[in-house]
């Protein structure tokens, strides 16, 4: 592996470092680094949300474009790229569903979610989705707040169950990817349903 040196102070640094460990200079942007690596984290589904946020904020404190408002254009560009990447890392890894899909993609070379758009292969899952959707439509029509809250709780429980299932699956190194992909897709449908539920409730506010 090539040895990397800071162009400012000459100190050696590890691949995927954001700031020079010796002088703190912003190092060249490397788009190939994983979202875990840029935050200095090991690649694992299990992580501490507070620690993740603290790492992201501490990095932003030093590399955000506001720190480079008067710097040369090349350095401003570098800051924008890093800052964007850190935001992405915080958003993707901070969300249990997106974090799982990111690990899935690292493992199997494709996202389980992007290719599933619009098609559910599992007939059982399809039926259940349709039932939930009909339930939501009925609630929206009746403007039944209690029923809506109950549905929201039920979705949250289902998401919780899926998260545990996904975590177990990801903990196994040689897991079957079909089961995992299916769980992630189901989880995404629940997310969409929850968003629709929020929108439905929001439209009541306007009325």
């Amino acid at each position: 592996m090539a040895v990397l040196h800071c162009s400012q102070c000459g100190a050696e640094y590890a691949p995927c470092s954001v700031l020079c460990p010796a002088c703190g200079a912003l190092l060249p942007f490397d788009p190939s680094c994983s979202l875990f690596a840029v935050l200095g984290l090991g690649e694992s589904y299990d992580l501490d949300g507070t620690d993740l946020r603290t790492r992201a904020v501490e990095l932003q404190r030093r590399l955000h474009p506001d720190r480079f408002a008067q710097a040369p254009a090349s350095l401003q560009r570098r800051s924008l790229e890093w800052s964007t990447r850190i935001n992405e890392a915080a958003a993707v890894l901070g969300d249990p569903l997106r974090r799982a899909d990111y690990l899935f993609a690292r493992r199997y070379g494709r996202s389980a979610l992007s290719e599933a758009q619009g098609s559910i292969r599992d007939p059982e899952l399809l039926m259940r989705q349709m039932e939930l959707r009909e339930q939501l439509e009925a609630i929206s029509e009746a403007r039944d707040q209690a029923a809506l809250d109950a549905l929201r709780r039920q979705i949250a429980e289902d998401e919780q169950r899926l998260q545990q299932q996904v975590a177990q699956n990801l903990a196994v190194v040689e897991g079957g990817n079909e089961a995992l992909a299916g769980a992630l897709q189901e989880w995404q449908y629940l997310r969409k349903l929850r968003a629709e539920l929020d929108r439905s409730e929001e439209s009541w506010d306007f009325a």
């Binding site: 162009s7 400012q8 102070c9 000459g10 002088c23 703190g24 200079a25 912003l26 904020v57 932003q60 404190r61 030093r62 955000h64 474009p65 506001d66 720190r67 480079f68 408002a69 008067q70 710097a71 040369p72 350095l75 924008l80 800052s83 964007t84 935001n87 992405e88 915080a90 958003a91 929020d198 929001e202 506010d205 306007f206």
Partner: protein
């Protein structure tokens, strides 16, 4: 080994040299400028000691431009050439401002793209009008500080979309002011409060300005201000209260409701009444009717509150939306900050207190707090201490693309922290297709027409391939100002597609350059241009009227009369093709004179035919 010289952030070449930077609150009704001196943020007053600059610009026929109090004084005399609340038109098209049209004393020029306002000194873009305000603030800062500032932080409503932000940046460029950052107004307010008190926790900022409403939720921690969610209404503000009051006043004097000067006077009186009723239960205004008579009009706070209550109620919907987006309960909020002059209204303070279950903070003058926060950030951006301060903002409105059937697919959802970048892959649907159109939109609705059109792109230079083979990766990058840039690449061949941007409402660089040149030219050119345009309209009107009359009644003329009229018509055509306003006016008058005989005979004929079949007696009384 020679090392590359890279400046460390926060360190200038001469570390002890202080750099000057300013913060500007470019408001709908008032604008301010502030700076940090001796580590203390302060607003900069004008020569008369006034801090607020009314955001009003007056254009005179001789090309003189007045800004501020002077312009506001001209408003009653010359309402058509006095532009107030121009912020409402920034980055807006004619369709957006339709709602306001009935209220406006000045004329909006119809057309595509950003609206223009007709004045005696020519049609003005809102960007140019805002630039006049910025120029005055910059001059004020230079006079007070004794040197040019290195740059400015200009605040915008958090809820401003891309077109509105871009227009604000363009205005600064036109005013010759380097922009360090566009900063969301509520965030600026939080900075002013947060640094004063060294606060930490969850804060809500409720910002009701003259024309815009913003609500933001922030997490404060060790100098880091993290915006969790923002929501608002870009067309809701204190002005709406003034209009509601003015409408009631005008209803009492229906005979003069159509008089532009009287309408403007009513609006100013309404604002004064609203302000005085924040302190008192009753207030009276003295008004001068267009006839010269004086009248008195008295208003009770109770009536005022009934009229403005529906307007204030509208602010709560965005509050609920932001709380939901952030996943925050009202009870978890540690403090509510009120910003904007309109929050002085007691009814509003009661409503906010009731909604959040706590008394709002109002320690810092709500008119100044945004400018002070902007000055603090400007000071940090040029590298003067404050290395602990960092503002992390969000995208206020979702970005999306038009898909099949006129629907919008969201690419970056609202309240995503910025800077942010997202890539989306597209493919071709025809064999050998080499170009593709992409329509970028901002907003939350499903249908294209319900969102704001930001830009249309044409990707060209896609290598010809079988349909569905090409992989075109379009990357959307939103920077720390909340501004969007787009790039595209065909990934299977690595060909970078050429991106043509057509901002739907913004101004491209060429337009800005043109405006800069126009501004440098003598203002008389604009006046001349206007005279020419008016002469042409008159000339064309005379020509059309003649054509209509000739088509119907040419038979009424003798051959020599017809030849005389024809000669005058040819002269007018020739004049209209040129650019001499006086020649056009003279030719128009000559044609009208030559055609008098025709007009007279047509009139007689019309009278005769109307009387035909009636006895003379019928026409006597």
């Amino acid at each position: 080994m020679a090392l590359m010289q890279i400046a460390e952030p926060g360190q200038s070449g001469a570390p002890h040299e202080r750099r000057l930077a300013i913060g500007i609150d470019l408001g709908t009704t008032h604008s301010l400028v502030a700076t940090v001196r001796s580590a203390i943020p302060e607003t900069i007053p004008d020569a008369e000691g006034r801090v607020l600059l009314p955001s009003v610009v007056h254009y005179a026929a001789d090309g003189r431009v007045a800004v501020g109090y002077e312009a506001r004084a001209a408003a009653v005399e010359d309402p058509h050439n006095t532009i107030a609340s121009v912020k409402r038109f920034m980055g807006r098209g004619a369709a957006d401002v339709g709602r306001l049209a009935g209220h406006l004393p000045f004329e909006i020029v119809p057309g595509d793209g950003m609206v223009r306002i007709r004045t005696v000194a020519g049609d003005k873009s809102p960007v140019e009008v805002s630039a006049e305000i910025l120029k005055v603030l910059k001059e004020r800062a230079v006079a007070a500080l004794g040197e040019e500032p290195q740059g400015a932080v200009i605040t915008v409503p958090a809820y401003f979309d891309d077109a509105q932000r871009q227009a604000t940046k363009d205005a600064a460029a036109l005013a010759g002011l380097p922009v360090l950052r566009l900063l969301a107004e509520p965030t600026a307010a939080a900075v002013a409060y947060g640094l004063d008190k060294n606060s930490r926790g969850l804060y809500a900022v409720f910002d009701l300005g003259g024309g815009t409403f913003d609500f933001s939720l922030l997490r404060l921690q060790q100098g880091v201000f993290e915006v969790l969610a923002t929501a608002g209404d870009a067309a809701l503000g204190g002005d709406d209260m003034d209009h509601a009051i003015a409408e009631h006043l005008l209803a009492e004097f229906p005979d003069y409701a159509g008089d532009a000067g009287f309408r403007r006077q009513s609006l100013q009186l309404a604002r004064g009444l609203k302000e005085r009723l924040s302190e008192a239960d009753t207030a009276s205004a003295q008004l001068v009717l267009p006839t010269g008579e004086s009248r008195s009009w008295t208003l009770q706070r109770r009536d005022l509150e009934n009229w403005i209550q529906p307007i204030l109620q509208k602010t709560l919907t965005p509050c609920r939306r932001a709380l939901r987006d952030a996943g925050v309960e009202r009870s978890a909020i540690d403090g509510v900050v009120l910003v904007g002059g309109a929050t002085r209204v007691p009814l509003l303070q009661r409503m906010v207190a009731e909604f959040f279950g706590r008394e709002p903070l109002t320690d810092i003058d709500p008119d100044r707090v945004v400018a002070l926060g902007a000055a603090i950030q400007a000071d940090a951006l040029v590298g003067n201490q404050r290395e602990d301060l960092l503002l992390m903002d969000v995208l206020p409105l979702s970005l999306g693309l038009e898909t099949m059937g006129g629907l919008v697919e969201k690419i970056i959802p609202r309240n995503t922290p910025i800077p942010v970048s997202r890539a989306q892959e597209f493919t071709t649907f025809k064999d050998g297709q080499t170009a593709m159109s992409i329509h970028v939109l901002q907003g939350e609705r499903d249908r294209v027409e319900d969102n704001r059109s930001l830009a249309r792109f044409t990707l060209r230079g896609i290598p010809p391939m079988v349909a569905g083979q090409a992989r075109i990766r379009v990357t959307f990058q939103v920077d720390a100002d909340g501004l969007l840039a787009v790039s595209a690449e065909e990934t299977s061949t690595g060909v970078r597609a050429e991106v043509q941007v057509k901002p739907s409402y913004g101004l491209d660089d060429a337009a800005i350059t043109q405006m800069l040149q126009d501004a440098l030219q003598h203002a008389a050119d604009d006046v001349e241009h206007r005279r020419l345009a008016e002469a042409r309209v008159e000339g064309q009107r005379a020509r059309e009227a003649l054509a209509t009359a000739m088509a119907a009644d040419a038979a009424l003329l003798s051959e020599s009369e017809r030849q005389a009229i024809e000669a005058a018509r040819v002269d007018l055509e020739r004049a209209l093709a040129g650019t001499d306003a006086d020649a056009i006016t003279a030719a128009t008058e000559a044609l009208e004179k030559a055609a008098e005989v025709l007009v007279e005979r047509r009139m007689n004929q019309a009278v005769r035919s109307a009387m035909a079949g009636h006895s003379i007696d019928e026409w006597k009384n």
